[in-house]
């Protein structure tokens, strides 16, 4: 084998560098590396021929070969980087999705709107120290009426259209108020601060606006110094947390046999802002709850001495206020469980 000269090596280097400039893909780059830095390349030949050189020639040739190898390797690395960058740019430019195609749907459930609203109420009153007490949906006439100061034939019984059962003295509770009697009898003489949520029933025609079954939440506070002022303060806090800090409310005298004085709370219509609309029947006000100081007869039936104890109670229908809030067109949607309705909450 002919030994390569330094000049030849230099010439090979220039040729190789020139060829490298034309390389524009990984495969050619590989071929170039084999040809110019591989076993049969000029530079490798230069190294292997060192042994055959004289002691004097060897260092110069060694140095030259080394420099050529380094130069070629550096040029290779540089070229490699350029090609990698170019290939990345190519792929970034060519790979793009139609981002408007729909995503892969994840099937999931939701809480029923009434469950959601109830939980909000639990939380608001929970913060104020109210605990939750539940009682049966089928009740005695006594708990639903008589112990709430409505003996048989009391005119106020007309306020509740009642579903009776074929069992004498058994009815579907028309409100959550019988729970007041139950919790008082269970806990007397302890102070009481509870909310009573649950399903109730009223004998009405089933239409878009009237429903036979609905959810109510009742409040009951009993203690030795409970006042109308505190009833007002509690309800005002509730209204602000529910309808917003700015919501105007008013307390208007009303009548319930189991409270005295009795009142109804109206909130400024959140649909029209009080200007008057179909939802508020043009009045600008929405009736949200009934309330009052617990009637002495009810306290007595509950096991509390009305001369010593006082209390307040309030009750609100959840379906109706939810209906107004979301402007639902038909109150029956709540219990028809149409998936197209439920999915929206």
């Amino acid at each position: 084998m002919m030994a390569i000269t330094q000049a030849e090596l230099e010439k090979e280097k220039l040729t190789a560098l020139k060829q490298l400039k034309a390389v524009d893909n990984e495969d050619d780059l590989n071929s170039w590396r084999v040809a110019c830095l591989g076993r049969s390349s000029a530079v490798t030949q230069a190294f292997s021929s060192l042994g055959s050189l004289s002691k004097e020639e060897r260092p110069a040739m060694g140095k030259a070969a080394n420099e050529v190898r380094k130069a070629l390797e550096a040029a290779l690395a540089e070229r490699q980087e350029v090609l990698r960058e170019a290939s990345l740019q190519r792929s970034l430019q060519s790979e793009h999705l139609d981002v408007t195609l729909p995503g892969r749907p994840i099937l999931h459930g939701r809480l029923h709107p009434l469950t959601q609203v109830l939980r909000r109420i639990y939380r608001i009153f929970g913060d104020m120290g109210f605990q939750i007490y539940r009682s049966p949906e089928v009740e005695t006439d006594d708990n639903n009426f008589t112990y709430l100061n409505m003996p048989p034939y009391h005119p106020a019984r007309d306020m509740w259209d009642t579903f009776y059962t074929s069992d004498e003295g058994v009815l579907l509770r028309t409100h959550t108020s019988p729970g007041q009697i139950r919790v008082m009898r269970e806990r007397a003489p302890e102070d009481i601060r509870v909310i009573l949520p649950g399903a109730t029933a009223r004998y009405e025609q089933l239409t878009a606006r009237s429903e036979i079954e609905f959810v109510q939440v009742e409040l009951l506070v009993v203690g030795k110094g409970v006042t109308f002022s505190e009833l007002k303060g509690t309800l005002l806090d509730f209204a602000k947390l529910t309808f917003g800090e700015e919501a105007r409310t008013r307390l208007r005298p009303s009548h319930f046999p189991f409270t005295e004085p009795s009142a109804e709370m109206d909130v400024e219509c959140f649909v029209c802002g009080g200007k008057g609309c179909g939802v508020c029947k043009g009045t600008g006000w929405l009736e949200i709850l009934g309330c009052g100081m617990v009637h002495p007869v009810v306290l007595k039936y509950g096991g509390y001495d009305p001369a010593v104890y006082s209390g307040f109670a309030a009750g609100m229908g959840i379906d109706r206020s939810t209906l107004m809030r979301y402007r639902i067109d038909d109150i029956r949607h709540f219990r028809n469980n149409d998936i197209r309705f439920l999915e929206q909450f």
Partner: protein, 845 residues
């Protein structure tokens, strides 16, 4: 009640207040104004109104009082007349078709001009020929060759009533040229009367409340009466059989009355108050009732004499006799119950006391002598009567809520005064008054301390006294205590402690709820009981939603037929007792449900055509009658329903799998896991609603928590489901929550790497997965960390009646890395155990 504002103003000066202000005062004392109907008065200024307004305003320049001087025939229309009319400014000719002007046609200049309501050109009023209230504007036009541009109005056109049979003929004293709104413009307030405020179902009652709230003087009705006739004594008698049912009965007599129309202003007010004017006698009773709140009844006195055989009639009040019947003045005949109170004479029933008069003795066109009844009736008895007969009237509405007997004589006097004024005649001297049972008007003591204890704010004693006095309580003041005697016009105040609450209501509502400052609860928190059952129930809802299920809320009312759909025809035949509803609203809601599964299937049925994938649940009670107690057991249940595809088809996933038994089982397992229910087990079970081979019970130990599976094909056929299998579950929530654990041990995260390997064993088809797994665990011992079935294979390669079960096993030691040797030893032990117990064969890998 519909209350014309001008009528209220007869008793209290309110001219300085706007309608809006008056309605607000009324609402804030408990007389809630539901709406205002304008009958002439202008719409309140401004955009924002607190109340709902409707009706028609009469601008002063468009509507005036006019007088018709002469009625001329129309040249070529019989049904039209031309009126020569003076509107206070000039004379004009107005065309009209009003039949009540025909009698004046062609008689020349009228001796006494007719006063009418006249609308000028451009006036906007209701179209008399269209049903309802359609607005129209008067424009100049030609009718049959005669020019017409203005109108003499009917009540309908002015929005007073629905009447359009003729034009309004006003009372003679109406001043010609006066704007109509000044003469008779009004606004009708629609008031909701609270059940304990029936005293205010009257004009005077409302005026009293407004007077108290605005600290204005209240004028009392003037019931002075000229009684110049022969004394009533001896000309009628009263016999009350049960004073409890009829505490008072008053009679007055007027003779020689003329049955004719009442003055126009009376008829207008009655119309505005939603009562139809009849004649001056009937109108007088209705007018007085609306004004004072005491219903009255007028008898034709001559008919009573005839019934008494020419003698003075004796009015007897008594309960009905067996089989007794009465035809009321609405023409209906009622069969009476023995508790129903009647007004009778010796010849029989005259009227249903306090509810409705009888047909025979009512005032008619020939009547000239009127015997007038004012009475008081036991409200509970009236209530029973009207609820039984389903017969309601203005009278029974008031009497069934309790009318104080003290009103009876005042009302009779006032009414006779009206009959005299509107119908003429002469009033017999004196009244016959039987008053066997005057109510006790309670005296209630209340102190400033009582007021502050209950309201949380102090009200000065003078103000308390002022409020009560304005409500006509008789107050006796002793330092900071008032002894208040209830006025004889209400029955809603009780004695003693309850009376204190009654007075507090009166004081606070007149004082004004808005003046009571709001405070936060100041008492120490009561003992804490919590509500773990609810907490867990809500946790369960969250878990189920996380598992992809939709929460639902369902009706409790259903029917046995609807629930029978969940059983095949040939089902057990077991009789299921229901809690039955006595007055069901529809035939498909006659009982309280026993099966939450039945509800869920209905929900699925409703939705199955709407979505490819359905997964829903409900937590709610079922109602199981219990012979040992009055009330049924309310058992809290969970239902789950699933049907359709595992996911919905999309452009990427074109054929998702159909949900099967194991999708439901996955949900059940997820729930058990989420509730940390220890070691639930599953075993096959047969239940009529489910496919016999695809149904399982979930248990903990011996306790069954519920059942789930695929619906039986025969049951499925009862519903309109798609072809997909329907999967359902019913679990007992109380049992679940009893076993669920809130505090549980968790496993440490391992410090050493696990050894993971797969084994597959061939076993008989009858071997259950649970059996195999139990044996693997038993043999694996402490080092075995996880067992996961990843394949079940059946095929020729392994033989008929066999299956291959492939498991992924994880071995681990807490203190070191396991060697291959140790792992091999474990595997051998497991395989040996399966070989020994099941005859299993290790399948070559």
């Amino acid at each position: 009640m519909k209350a014309p504002l001008n009528w209220i103003k007869d008793y209290i000066d309110l001219d300085d207040l706007s309608i809006e202000e008056i309605a607000n005062v009324m609402t804030m004392v408990g007389l809630e104004v539901d709406g205002v109907r304008l009958v002439g008065l202008p719409m309140p200024a401004g955009e924002h109104h607190e109340f709902k307004y409707e009706g028609l305003s009469w601008p002063a320049d468009k509507f005036v009082v006019a007088q018709v001087e002469e009625v001329l025939p129309h040249p070529d229309a019989d049904r039209l007349v031309l009126c020569r009319l003076n509107d206070g400014q000039k004379e004009l000719v107005v065309l009209t078709g009003a039949p009540n002007l025909y009698p004046y046609k062609g008689v020349g200049q009228l001796e006494k001009p007719l006063k009418v309501a006249y609308a000028r050109e451009g006036a906007v009023l209701y179209d008399g020929h269209k049903p309802g209230s359609v607005l129209t504007k008067l424009k100049r036009m030609k009718i049959r060759g005669v020019e017409s541009f203005s109108m003499i109005c009917s009540e309908k056109e002015l929005g007073i009533s629905e009447t359009h049979e003729g034009v309004i003929i006003l009372d003679d004293d109406a001043p010609t040229g006066m704007p109509l709104v000044d003469y008779m413009g009004d606004a009708v307030l629609d008031i909701s009367i609270l059940p304990n405020m029936v005293r205010d179902a009257s004009i005077v009652g409302m005026a009293r409340e407004i007077a108290a709230a605005t600290k204005r003087p209240l004028r009392k009705p003037d019931d002075q009466l000229e009684m110049h006739g022969k004394s009533i004594k001896g000309r009628a008698a009263i016999e009350i059989r049960d004073a409890e049912l009829n505490p008072r009965f008053v009679l007055g007599l007027i003779e020689g009355v003329e049955i004719k129309s009442s003055p126009y202003w009376v008829r207008r007010r009655l119309n505005l108050a939603d009562m139809r004017p009849i004649n001056c006698i009937v109108d007088a009773t209705n007018y007085t009732m609306l004004e004072l709140g005491e219903p009255l009844h007028a008898f034709d006195y001559d008919i009573l004499i005839k019934r008494a055989g020419g003698k003075a009639p004796t009015i007897i009040t008594r309960t009905a006799e067996a089989g007794e019947k009465l035809t009321t003045l609405d023409g209906e005949t009622y069969e009476l119950e023995p508790y129903m109170e009647l007004v009778t004479d010796k010849a029989g029933a005259l009227s249903l006391a306090g509810v409705m008069g009888g047909e025979e003795s009512e005032v008619n066109v020939k009547t000239s002598c009127v015997l007038l009844e004012g009475a008081a009736w036991n409200f509970i008895n009236i209530r029973k009567t009207i609820s039984k007969l389903k017969l309601n009237s203005e009278a029974s509405y008031r009497f069934s809520r309790g009318i104080h007997p003290a009103l009876a004589d005042q009302a009779v006097r006032l009414c006779l005064q009206r009959m005299l004024a509107w119908g003429g005649g002469v009033v017999a001297e004196g009244l016959i008054d039987e008053y066997p049972a005057p109510p006790e008007d309670p005296v209630v003591e209340i102190s400033t301390h009582d007021v502050e204890r209950m309201l949380g704010t102090a009200i000065p004693i003078d103000e308390i006294q002022d409020i009560l006095t304005r409500l006509e309580f008789d107050c006796e003041l002793n330092r900071d205590t008032i002894k208040a005697k209830t006025p004889p016009l209400r029955l809603d105040i009780n004695p003693g402690l309850v009376g204190k609450a009654d007075l507090l209501e009166e004081i606070s509502r007149i004082y004004g709820f808005d003046r009571i400052p709001p405070k936060r609860l100041s008492e120490e928190l009561p003992p804490q009981h919590g509500n773990q059952a609810l907490d867990m129930e809500e946790l369960m809802r969250d878990l189920l939603v996380d598992l992809g299920l939709q929460d639902t809320v369902a009706y409790r009312q259903t029917s046995p037929e609807r629930e029978a759909r969940i059983l095949p025809e040939d089902a057990d035949g077991e009789v299921r007792e229901y809690l039955r509803i006595k007055n069901p609203i529809t035939t498909d809601r006659t009982v309280m449900r026993r099966s939450i599964l039945a509800t869920m299937l209905e929900i699925l049925e409703h939705n199955c055509h709407l979505r490819q994938h359905l997964a829903m649940f409900e937590i709610g009670p079922v109602f199981i009658p219990n012979a040992d107690q009055l009330l049924p057991d309310e058992v809290l249940k969970l239902s789950i329903g699933m049907t359709g595809l595992r996911s919905q088809t999309t452009w990427q996933d074109k054929a998702p799998e159909v949900m099967s038994f194991y999708d439901m089982k996955g949900v059940i397992e997820g729930l058990m896991d989420g509730l940390h229910i220890p070691n639930p087990s599953y075993q096959p079970v047969k239940r009529p609603s489910f496919h016999p081979g695809k149904c399982a019970e979930v248990m903990v130990g011996e306790k069954v928590l519920g059942v789930f599976g695929e619906l039986h094909p025969l049951v499925k056929a009862h519903y309109e489901f798609d072809d997909y299998p329907v999967l359902a579950a019913e679990l007992d929530v109380t049992s679940l929550l009893e076993i669920a654990t809130i505090i549980f041990d968790i496993e440490a995260i391992p410090s050493y790497p696990p050894v993971i390997e797969d084994i597959a064993v061939i076993v008989d088809e009858t071997t259950s997965a649970e059996q195999i797994e139990a044996l693997i665990w038993h043999a694996g011992g402490k080092m075995l960390n996880r067992v996961r079935l990843f394949d079940v294979y059946r095929g020729e390669k392994i033989g008929v009646g066999k299956k291959s079960m492939a498991y992924n096993l994880t071995y681990m030691a807490p203190d070191r890395t396991l060697t291959d040797k140790e792992a091999a030893k474990l595997r051998n032990k497991i395989v040996k155990n399966l070989e020994k117990e099941l005859g299993a064969v290790l399948r070559s890998q």
